[in-house]
Each structure stands twice: as C-alpha cells, then as structure tokens.
C-alpha cells in the first residue's frame, strides 16, 4: 500500500514547477578580471582602514541579491551594513532589459510562495514591468499512452499555478529593489580569493579560535574586508563552501538538458510536460507567443539535437510533444471504463477535462543551450560565521525547476533568522543562531531533492509493470481530489510534503 502511494506520488511531483537555476552560476562564472573601481563606495571603519560589515554576501546572483533585499526590508535588519561581492558587471551597470528582445531561454518557474516573498520585499512590481507569464493549467502525460493528469488553479481556489519569468528579469527586479532601499551596502566587483574564519580584530598574538569575532575576506582585486557573517550564494561550485571546508554529497545524472525559446502561432497559457523514454520534455509559456523548452535526454542525443538544423529540431520537438515516441492517452470523459476507472473518486473540476495536444511550435527564437544535470547537497549549510544559500547548498535535477524556489526559500529563512538574532542582541555569526536556519531549510530541501531524484529514477527505466504503476499514479493524481490538491500546494511551495502535513 505504502509502495503504491509512493509510486503515485513520484510522477506527480514533477509537474511542480520548473526553473533554470543555471543563470546564477552562469553569472558567477561569466565574471572575471574586473579590476575594482567603478563607482564603488568604500566604507572605511576604525582599525587599519579595513572596512567592517555585518554581512558579506559572496555571489550576487538571484538568491544572493534576494537575501540583501530581504535584509533591507525587515525592520530589525535594515540597519545592517552589507557587502555584496560579485564580479558580474550587471550588478554595477544598472542596465535595463529591452522589451523587444526575444525571451532568454534561461527562465524560472516561480511558485506562489516565491511570488509572495517578492511582494513582501517590494520586488514584484519590477517583475510586472517586464515580460512574465502566469499559467493556470498544467498537463502531464507520458509516452506509454496509459494516463495523463491535468491540473488547474481552480482546483485549489487559486488564480494561478505559477509564473514563468526570465532569470535576467528576476535578477534585474531584485537589483532594482536593492538599489531602492536605504540599506548601507557596498558592491565589490571582485571574486573571493581567501577566507579566514578565525580572525580576531585584536590580532595581537591571541588570534586563536576563541577570539575569532569576524571573518576576514581577501578579494581578487586586493581588497580586504571583515564581516561578522559570510553568506555563500556563489552557485553550485561555491568557493565559500570550499574555503569553509564544507563537504558535499551528490552525483551526476547520465543526462543533459537542452533549453531554448520557441514561438507558436497562438498564445500558450498552459504548462506542458511529457515523460519520454529518454527523459522529460517540458513546454512552458513565457508570454506573448513564446514558450520555453526544457528537454532532458542522454548527452549524445543532446549534442545531436543542438547541432541539427532548425527545421529538424522543430520537427523533433513537435513530435516529442505529440505522437512521437508513443500514442496519446485516451480521454476518459465518456466514462468509458479504462484500465483505472475504479480510481475515479472525483472531484476537482479539471478531472474531466479531455487530453489536449500542446500548440505546435513554428519557430526557434533563441540558440539552443545544453546543461549537464546533477544532484548535490552540502553536508552542512552553516559553520561558524558562514551560511550557504541557494545552489551553494543544494543543486537539484532541474526537471522540476524547484531549484531557484528552494534558493529563495533559503534567503527568506536566513534573513528571518538573522532578524531574530538581532532582536535578542546575538552576534549574527554565532553558530547556535545559524543552526536555526539550517534545521529549518535542510529538512525541506532534502525532501524536495529526494522527490525530484525519485522522479528521475522512476523514468529512467522502461519496464512494463513499472509503466503501469506510473500510469496508475497519473490516474490517482488526476482523480483523487484531496491528493491532487495536496500535490498542487506542495508544488506551489505552500506546504510540506503531501500526506505528511
């Protein structure tokens, strides 16, 4: 019984929302060899002219800037003095995003929980100025033709299931929000080169562990700064994590994801995901007549798909979303007792919606990018004066796109913990305080990672009975309404694990 429930849960989760958290790490890796200077405000303080900060955020990607914004908007933390260390020129440039540009293929599906986090910080209004696409329906099916699931926001009395936003829009919105705040912040356009976590300001011979009251950061441009707390938001290859000696656990999947932007003849308002033998393919609306493709497959196929000409690629995508690789599942609107008709306990309004074929793709609107897939989890999220957030703490299989939402969850949680520490006069780099953040986020993140990894594994096998089980899972998800509502809420980031909450 448990087994069945477990199987039921797996394929469903996936429809959660997807994201590409690739942008963050890209921004970070893309950086480099900037020698400081452009319009930087140096804050010098007391001893030796070395500036001291309350928080040094290493990595100014979406998650790092979100933390800065969150700190800037809470009453007890807005006075904190924050340093943001990232060599990405976008942080300094304050550039704008041109509306006419076709959508960038790096997009994130933000959950309602993330949207309310943005609204709370006052960052959502900037998203609204740019292209973004809400979707209120989702359809999930697989190549066996045995089942499908349709979700609609109405099932949980919501207006939307999620919103697809380009990563550069999310990043720009957060930067605007940060610039608008009165927080004392300094941007260092450099990379972290060394980190001393047992540094004492009273450096006379007694700079042993007990006196360590700040972290000392050496930057690639020669700058030195002190901070009570160093936050690593520097992506999956986190340098902070490495310098703090925090180990990780993880593995690579024998799969790559190919992503790109495509155009349809009509507007798309639904998120589509189909499980193929080689891996899932997803089609997400990103506004106007554009959609985003995320297609997971083995690395050899991915390389072929990237190099084939546009017409062949479009044909392959259209096939993958239609009759290719297997038949359509049968719509069961006529009550025709299919294999799983006994499961029909229903229910939610969307349960009787017939299966639909996604809108055809007419044009490729961006280059095709290929990313390797991997799973990584830091063994601990904190150590003395260090906290890891976002991809620095965990990288997930991007197929469900929970990555950046998990990162925003981290930023929100860490800023709350810092605020609670300030309330009772704690040293904000104290490990006992930081552990509160870790215990809050680790459980949530591990659960999500296990679910996503389970999906990947469930679909990496093509075996008759397993296919039937997966199909049963679709039916279960489609027709058992409490389960369905539960799943939608979990994927929206609004509650814990279905059935356990």
């Amino acid at each position: 019984m448990n087994r069945v429930i477990f199987k039921v849960l797996r394929p469903i989760r996936k429809y959660g929302l997807r994201t590409f958290s690739a942008a963050t790490s890209d921004l970070l890796n893309a950086s480099h060899n900037h020698s400081a200077t452009t319009g930087i405000l140096e804050k010098t303080n007391s001893t030796d002219n070395v500036p001291q900060y309350d928080v040094a955020i290493v990595g100014g990607g979406m998650v790092g800037v979100a933390l800065a914004c969150s700190l800037a908007t809470m009453p007890l933390t807005k006075h904190l003095n924050v340093a943001l260390i990232d060599s990405n020129p976008a942080l300094m440039a304050g550039g704008s995003i041109k509306k006419e540009d076709p959508p960038d293929p790096r997009v994130s599906t933000v959950t309602p929980a993330t949207i309310s986090f943005f609204k709370g910080m006052g960052a959502w209004k900037y998203i609204q100025l740019h292209r973004h696409a809400f979707f209120d329906r989702m359809q999930v099916w697989d190549y066996t033709g045995l089942g499908y699931t349709r979700y609609s926001a109405g099932d949980v009395d919501k207006e939307v299931l999620g919103c697809v936003v380009e990563n550069k829009v999310l990043h720009r919105a957060l930067l605007s929000c940060m610039e608008e705040s009165n927080m004392q912040k300094t941007i260092y356009p450099a990379r972290l080169s060394a980190l001393d976590l047992s540094f004492s300001l009273k450096s006379d011979n007694v700079s042993s562990q007990p006196h360590a009251n700040v972290a000392k950061l050496n930057l690639s441009n020669g700058d030195i700064l002190y901070a009570k707390l160093v936050v690593g938001s520097d992506g999956s290859k986190s340098h902070v994590r490495e310098l703090a000696g925090i180990k990780t656990t993880g593995w690579k999947y024998p799969q790559n994801a190919i992503i790109c932007t495509v155009e349809h003849a009509v507007e798309n308002r639904c998120a589509w995901q189909r499980f193929l033998r080689s891996g899932p393919i997803a089609l997400l609306p990103i506004g106007d007549n554009f959609s985003n493709i995320v297609w997971t497959m083995d690395p050899k196929q991915a390389a072929e798909c990237r190099s084939m000409d546009e017409a062949d690629f479009l044909k392959a995508v259209n096939e993958a979303l239609d009759y290719g690789h297997g038949p359509h599942p049968q719509s069961e609107t006529k009550g025709g007792g299919g294999l799983f008709s006994w499961l029909k306990l229903d229910t939610t309004p969307s349960a009787n919606e017939p299966f639909e074929v996604p809108p055809r793709i007419t044009k490729l609107a961006s280059e095709r990018m290929v990313f390797p897939l991997s799973l990584m989890h830091a063994n601990s999220y904190v150590s003395k004066r260090v906290a890891l957030i976002g991809d620095a703490a965990h990288t997930v299989h991007p197929l469900a796109g929970q990555g950046v939402n998990m990162g925003f969850g981290d930023a929100s949680s860490l800023s709350r913990v810092i605020s609670e520490g300030v309330a009772v006069g704690s040293d904000i780099g104290e490990i006992s305080l930081l552990r509160r953040y870790e215990s809050e986020r680790k459980a949530a993140n591990i659960a999500m990672m296990a679910v996503l990894d389970g999906f990947q594994k469930a679909y990496s096998v093509d075996f008759g009975p397993l296919n039937v089980l997966r199909a049963a899972a679709f039916h279960g998800a489609n027709y058992i309404s409490p389960l369905k509502k539960n799943i939608i809420s979990y994927a929206s980031g609004e509650q814990g694990i279905p059935l356990f909450s």
Partner: protein, 314 residues
C-alpha cells in the same frame, strides 16, 4: 491568606502574554545528555565547587576597574583566552547557557520594551538606557544587552570573570563600551549608583541573604525603573533535574554547585521583592523540550523561572 493572595497574583502574572515577540523556536538543540535544567552562568568553569552557602556577591576586592592593559604579559593573556574560550564557545561546556540565552533575552526584550515604552521593531530599543548586570560572569548577558542599545555596566565579584568579559567585549566595537567592574551590588549602593534597569540572572540562589540582596537591587534601580531576576524554584522537580541529574548523574555541574534549600519559590521571590519596593509584573518559566531540543518560555514555573518587576515610586 497572604500566600493565597500571592498565589492568585502569580497566576495572573504568568498568564500575561509575553510571547508576542518571542519565537519559541529560537534555540539550538542541546546535546541529549544535557536535557536537564539549564543555568549557571555565574559559576565560572575554573572555580572550585562552591561552598554550600556561598556569597560571591559580597566580595572583598577593593573596588577597581579592571581593564586589560598593555602592561599585561602575554602568558597572562593566553591564560585568559583559554578560559574565555570555554565561556564563549557556543559548543563548549557553556553550550546550554548559550542555548538558553536567547530565550531569556526574548523575555527581557518584550517586557522592557513595554516597560520603557520602546518600539519593539527597532534594532536597538534600549538606546539611552543604563542597565546593570549583577553577576555578569563572562558577559553572556551584558553583550546582547549592549547590542540592543543599552549602556551596560557588568559587575562580578570574581576578578577573573571580569577580565574574561573585558577581553571578549573588546573584540566588538559595539560591546567594547560595556563598563565591567569587579565589585558587588552592595558597594555600588554605597556609591549611590542608579540604573534604569537592574538584572540579576541566576545569582540570587548563591547569595547569603536574598532579602538583603533584593534590597540592594532595588536601591540601584531608579524610581519606575525595572528589575529582572531569574533563579530556580525550590520544587521537587528542580531537585531532580538541577541537582540530582545535572550534578550527580550527568556531572554537568560540579557537585555542590547548588543547595536546594537555598532556592526560592516564585511566591517567596515575589514577596521579598515586594518588601524591597519592587512590584513583580510578570513571571515566566523556561522549559526545555527534549523532543525538539529547544528552550521556550512557558507558564510552567516549576523549575527555571524569570521575574520582571517595576520599582515602586517612592
């Protein structure tokens, strides 16, 4: 009758809501072997077991301000750092104390913000107020109070504690303003010092005459100021946890650290504070939940409790 009155007064006190501000989930989990009681920060780790009725508050040191100066030799400094390490190592022997600290500070913050009419959404609500921490030990309470904006004076009768506290506080510009003195409450009374709020946390069970001690606390508090006292209840449960388990089973505290008979019940504490012109406004208990590994404030004042009172206008 009088005791009945007191009891009903206590009930009202503990029912007041002091949790508006307090997230009970503050505290990091304790190691399982430390499930018991809490406390002891006025007991420095290097001290020999205290004699049954110690009175660290009545010291014989001449009043002096102890500052680490450049005249100190490096060996001395190194020695202090070693001790300081145990006081301030959040994972060390004082871990339970560090774990509990945010809980008592949450109580202090919420009650005193109300008492002094300060904005609880301000990062430094106690700016402009003079606080006295009696029995400050290594400064575990004094430093957070200073970060919350207060002008803090910390006193301890043990000279070494003061040195450690000074050394640690000097590491942060915010806490380096704390004035640490090796002296006693009585001496300060003689000097006619006055403070807006006076704290004696986990100290009163170690003094020879709690009633006299409370009078000193009162004398140090300005009219309409606040006094905060925390201690252990003289209950069977306290005996089982704070003494039998903590000292004899877990060897968490040196044997003889606490003498059960010198503990005060909340009723007694309210009474002696009342006689010293301090009217207790709120009492809360500290409770450890072994399942979640967290300390939280509770109405259960059976073991550890904290009381906040207002100095009656004379």
């Amino acid at each position: 009758m009088a005791s009945k009155l007191l009891l009903s007064q206590l009930r009202t006190l503990t029912n007041l809501t002091y949790r508006r501000f307090i997230n009970p989930e503050f505290i990091c989990p304790l190691r399982p072997e430390l499930l018991i009681g809490s406390r002891t920060y006025s007991d420095a780790p290097h001290l020999p077991p205290v004699d049954p009725v110690p009175s660290p508050i009545i010291g014989d040191n001449p009043l002096r301000k102890t500052k680490i100066s450049s005249s100190l030799n490096q060996a001395e400094l190194a020695k202090f750092s070693a001790i300081s390490e145990t006081w301030w190592d959040a994972e060390g022997p004082f871990k339970p104390l560090h774990a509990m600290n945010p809980t008592r500070l949450a109580f202090i913050r919420s009650t005193l913000c109300r008492h002094f009419g300060k904005d609880p959404y301000c990062a430094k609500p106690f700016e402009g107020l003079k606080f006295l921490d009696v029995g400050c030990g290594g400064g575990i309470l004094s430093e957070p109070l200073a970060r919350m904006g207060a002008t803090v004076t910390g006193v301890d009768a043990v000279d070494k504690n003061i040195k450690i506290a000074r050394l640690h506080a000097d590491l942060d510009p915010v806490t380096s303003s704390i004035d640490y003195l090796c002296t006693t409450a009585e001496k300060l009374v003689e000097e006619k010092r006055k403070f807006d709020a006076v704290f004696a946390l986990e100290v009163i069970e170690h003094v020879a005459d709690p009633a006299e001690f409370c009078k000193s606390l009162s004398a140090l508090t300005v009219s309409n100021g606040a006094t905060v006292v925390s201690t252990i209840n003289r209950s069977i449960r306290a005996y089982a946890t704070a003494i039998v388990a903590a000292e004899y089973i877990l060897h968490w505290l040196p044997k003889g650290t606490h003498d059960w008979s010198s503990f005060l019940t909340p009723e007694e504490l309210v009474l002696i504070l009342q006689r010293a012109s301090i009217s207790v406004q709120e009492i809360a208990g500290f409770v450890y939940n072994p399942l979640t590994g967290k300390w939280f404030l509770s109405d259960d004042i059976g073991v550890n409790f904290i009381a906040y009172g207002a100095k009656i206008d004379e």
